[in-house]
Assembly symmetry: C2
Homo-oligomer: 438 residues x 2
């Protein structure tokens, strides 16, 4: 355990705690004026972020909070520069300062994030950093080489790192928990099946997968539904890993892992599936994605896109976009429709699995915390804290309703071989068997 780690206490901290002044406070020569300025800055910052019920403690021992009642946590600000940055743009700089240990959270980190998130005025949840973001976003546009750079940044940081906290199948997307108490392993398996059943896969069919991660879905479809799969991904590390798995499982004749962009998909398929790629596509490219799907699907073709989404369009928060997910841009449902409407696809079913992503992230975060010393060894403390914040912050956003998880099923407009009801999705699993078709 490292000294700077937050101990989740699980209990809210009540106000009025005594905090012994640190050594730096001996030099009180600047006196009350400095304290007054700091107080003003802090009050302004708290107001700017919606007055969350937290206690703020400065490097010099000064404490402040805008609430009389219970505080969910204490935010320690360790230097004057950190305070200035937080006051200038709390949403943008929080991540950087937290990662570099210039600020610290005492108390339950998740409670703190949730309180801060819920206190934020609606219009600013995620709207922050818009000006900062737009030039950045331009530089990181998802052109063919741009996408490759962006994907490399996130997914090629080492399979060993992801193995520390993902499930055994290495599925890095929202799981589907038949019950909230299911294990992560079972829930990821249930998700793969849920997707396959929605696609109504039949043995011998051909499937194209756009953005296949480490290959878990492609291999599952081939093994349990008897289909052949062309699986595309531009992450070198993931493709290499997926090919090894296919070979080890004797499925390399049935699944082809292709290191290429979704825009270069060639061939005609019975089903198109994409799980967790759309976040990286960018709305500017939705028309082209729709055209790719349109030219790839046979007349009886159907498809499913599984993606993080939003209730209304706004850019990813600036810190995450800059540090974790360059080029990422989850869509609203209206934005997603730009893929389907120009090509007369029928949207048959939309399922919002937001709370399942919160549950998935609880599992990931727990496993991550259990392995944070390994992460620190593999990278450094800054990286380890940045990813903790990213996982915890994402959990908070899904739990508080700031992010959604959409599974959208679609088919060609004139295709009547579609399920009569969705009942079949909720009957005992029979992979490759009855699938609700008329």
């Amino acid at each position: 355990m490292r000294q700077e780690r937050t101990e989740p206490s699980g209990k809210p901290i009540s106000g009025g705690l005594n905090y012994s002044p640190p050594p730096g406070l001996q030099q009180r020569s600047l006196g009350n004026m400095l304290l007054a300025t700091e107080k003003l800055l802090l009050t302004r910052m708290l107001r700017a972020i919606g007055d969350p019920p937290v206690q703020i403690v400065l490097w010099n021992g000064l404490e402040i909070s805008n609430h009389e009642g219970k505080k969910v946590a204490r935010l320690i600000i360790r230097d004057h520069g950190a305070l200035l940055k937080l006051v200038t743009d709390p949403e943008l700089y929080f991540g950087e300062l937290y990662s570099s240990q210039r600020i610290e959270v005492q108390g339950n980190f998740l409670d703190f994030l949730e309180a801060a998130y819920r206190a934020l005025p609606l219009t600013r949840r995620g709207n922050f950093g818009k000006k900062l973001l737009s030039p950045l976003h331009d530089a990181r546009r998802n052109t063919l080489p741009g996408s490759r750079r962006n994907i490399h940044h996130h997914y090629d940081i080492g399979n060993d790192f992801y193995r520390l906290w993902l499930d055994e199948r290495m599925v890095y997307t929202c799981a589907y928990f038949p019950s909230p108490h299911a294990s992560l392993e079972d829930a990821q398996l249930a998700k793969l099946d849920h997707v396959c059943r929605k696609l109504r896969l039949q043995p011998g069919e051909q499937v194209v997968e756009a953005g296949c991660g480490w290959g878990a879905l492609a291999l599952h479809m081939a093994k349990h539904y008897g289909v052949t799969v062309a699986a595309y991904n531009i992450s070198t590390e993931q493709i290499t890993f997926a090919r090894q798995r296919a070979h080890a499982e004797g499925l390399d004749g049935q699944v082809e892992f292709i290191e290429d962009d979704y825009r270069n998909v060639r061939g005609e398929f019975d089903a198109f599936v994409s799980v967790g790629m759309l976040e990286h596509v960018g709305t500017d490219n939705y028309l082209e994605l729709g055209a790719v799907i349109d030219r790839s699907l046979k007349d009886n073709g159907r498809g499913l896109i599984h993606t993080i989404g939003l209730n209304y369009p706004r850019p990813m928060d600036a810190w995450t976009e800059r540090n974790i997910f360059p080029g990422a841009c989850p869509p609203s449902l209206a934005q997603m429709m730009q893929i389907f409407e120009p090509f007369d696809f029928s949207v048959l079913d939309v399922e919002n699995l937001r709370l399942h992503y919160a549950r998935t992230l609880e599992h990931w975060l727990q496993r991550y915390e259990n392995n944070i010393e390994h992460v620190t060894e593999m990278f450094d403390a800054k990286f380890a804290r940045a990813w903790r914040l990213y996982l915890a912050g994402s959990l908070t956003a899904f739990k508080a309703g700031g992010m959604q998880l959409f599974q959208v099923s679609f088919a060609r407009a004139d295709q009547n071989q579609i399920p009569w009801t969705r009942q079949y999705l909720y009957e005992p699993a029979t992979p490759g068997g009855s699938n609700g078709k008329l």
Copy 2:
């Protein structure tokens, strides 16, 4: 039975049938030149509508078809003016000419409509008459008095008329057939339950219904789910009928039928529901509808909108808009999102029940045909044929994928009392009981 009724043969008619020239053909003085002009006009018209496999027969016995193979039906054009109108704008004038018996269909009417619909180039399905439609649409805008006029046109033509072909509960929206073989009565009951379960109604809750038709859903919710309902409608005949039913069933203390516009909804509710009203709202008013929902829903509020929809935005066909449904404008899913996105509502579930509407319309059309003599007596032959075409044409559009039926469930963004999965919708019905909440 009236002479002009089409006898559904159920079998396609093969080409090359002999057709005895009608008496008018005796005067052949204009000779071959007129025939050549007519041939040219017909060929152009057939090409314009995508060369459907139909045989065309003129008043003078001239027959023409662009296909060598089987014809699904014969279209009889009874005078020269009808031919000119069809050539000018087939989609716009077909309805008028069919209603006034200036054209007739021999063979299976539904097969004819489906062949014509499927032959139509994608870009023209419903795009026809755009220019004609826009000024018309303006005149029929869904302002408060405009809506009242438009709704009166369609719904106040007599409860006795609708009783001839609707189910016993008088539900004039898409039913939900647990199996395609369910009766219309069972399927409408199942639809009411499907909606109530999606809303997760609890005894004692308060529900607002926008556009309540003859009151079937409001009464069902009150009777079987123990809620109180404020049900709005601007159709005088429907409201009067609904109030009588409420009184007869002893539910008038629990259900208030209010003759007013959805824009005048007042109060706070646990659930907002609207089944088959959005078609009449018009996209210009979606922001206001969203605001009405936003101010009407409590924090734990949730809602459902059930509406005819489209795969991409386009106006209603001009004939239907002019003759059957003034002001009607079914939305695409992206357009629907204009209701939810500005208010940060979470869309939780979208179900497309297109084939259920086709099945519903099969039942309605069958009952309508069984009662067409009554309809003719109540109105006249033109009205009876217009409504036959409207029902059959709608059936065709739902079957061929030109129209959709969306049920969209939503809740406030930060509301976590939402169903964990949709499994509960597919378990045996327990009205007012377990509803999938965590």
